[in-house]
Point group: C2
């Protein structure tokens, strides 16, 4: 019916990752599939409206997809959220962001999962890979030990740090800097061989971090008292609403127009 | 009486900073003097025993000084702590650490002050410069705004980041990484012109950060409820005892022998 539209636009689903390189797509598909195969039985289907699962701007220069599955009542999962966003740049290139995050609920205090690849040129990418903590680390050194020291998460950051193509990245948002853990991988990768870099270094590390999250966090058993549960709920809510505001609050209206932005933000706020 | 001892050893006081370069010494003296002239009337004299104010190892290859003044009861100051440490390295060079920190008490929730210069070779220095937060930032975006966004502290970090001689530094302690704020300056400086670098870049920035701390934190008025006060006490205690343990717990015995280490740590633990 829409054969005159560019191949990408239209019925493209979240798992198609239509605008990014093959290694980038393979990595995202692998991560999402791994999460869904491990958590599948405790996740509800994605109930986002079709025009929130995939949306674009009027001129077709910006296109995005969202995939959101909440955890069943008895589970430790609040929800998982996958997304991609493509947007042509006035300079001729394109911005491509793909992300996967997983939020646990207040029946556990274990860390969340955050993976984001932000590609703003064929030779430059920002990688954010972290298990954001859900308790204050200064006050809870045992928590730091369990989830960050004993899991040796910092070795991944150290491995990347050694590569000459990799430099530390500082988010312009101080709030985001506060949300991420002390072992967070926040790096800029600049290289002509970005695809090889993703295959050789980014993918193996992202998969290992996800494995740690699944083993230690998503399926770890934690004892959470009633007071702590209240604290976690409050902290999670604050962290999610601020993250939405910072990530999407200003960029969505700019890229997709106010109407679409409202529709998407409203759908997200229902779960967030 | 001890004219055969090297000039440095013996009665050297804290403010002499005898082992570091002139610009490095000038900076430290300036920072300590500024703090003492602003807080002077609300600080008690240093009551550390003389053999804790200055101590060395048996062979004279390691030498250190401490300067600690607590705040008077009615003040917002818990204490200020200055230190320097000199230690000859087996490789022929020397390690020189100078630091100034200031801790507020639970009548305010404003950030502390932390300045540390770690010089391990004539051409390499680690600079730590921060106002460590005392409340959880994820849960308290207003606190983040007041002390870190509105004060534009990040501009100093950004200025340093642009210099080719400067690279981000990651503490090997995940706890220390958790203690520092999102605008913390944690950098390694590598250059043949280290003295010029200190004069031109490090000193002006350190002085500005100190000015912010004095204006906004040490003399800022904050309303702190009873629950918060309990929280601050607990968090401050944890943070101080962990910091001592990480900073000095293993290095002092190694450098100065167990007896001296015990004496120093005991004196510090009384205040910490």
């Amino acid at each position: 019916a829409s054969s005159s539209l560019p191949q990408h636009v239209g019925r493209t689903g979240f798992m198609d990752f239509p605008y990014v390189s093959t290694p980038h797509k393979n990595l995202m598909v692998d991560l999402v599939s791994t999460v869904e195969s491990h958590l599948g039985s405790i996740l509800n289907p994605c109930t986002l409206p079709p025009d929130v699962q995939s949306y674009q701007n009027e001129t077709g220069t910006a296109h995005a997809a969202l995939h959101l599955r909440s955890g069943v009542q008895s589970s430790q999962i609040d929800f998982i959220l996958g997304s991609w966003l493509h947007c042509e740049l006035p300079t001729g290139g394109a911005l491509n962001i793909t992300s996967l995050s997983a939020y646990l609920n207040s029946s556990t205090d274990a860390p969340n999962l955050l993976v984001e690849l932000i590609q703003s040129s064929p030779t430059s990418m920002v990688l954010i890979l972290d298990l954001p903590h859900r308790k204050e680390l200064v006050l809870n050194p045992d928590y730091l030990k369990t989830f960050y020291e004993d899991t040796q998460l910092d070795q991944h950051r150290q491995r990347l740090e050694k590569l000459s193509e990799v430099t530390p990245y500082f988010s312009s948002s101080l709030y985001i800097r506060s949300v991420v853990s002390p072992t967070a991988i926040l790096v800029r990768i600049e290289t002509e061989q970005l695809e090889e870099m993703i295959e050789t270094h980014v993918s193996p590390i992202a998969k290992e971090v996800l494995k740690t999250w699944l083993d230690v966090c998503a399926f770890g058993e934690r004892v959470v008292g009633e007071d702590e549960r209240v604290y976690l709920k409050k902290r999670d809510e604050m962290s999610k609403s601020k993250t939405i505001e910072i990530d999407l609050g200003s960029s969505l209206p700019r890229l997709f127009g106010q109407e679409t932005a409202n529709r998407v933000l409203e759908a997200l706020r229902e779960v967030f």
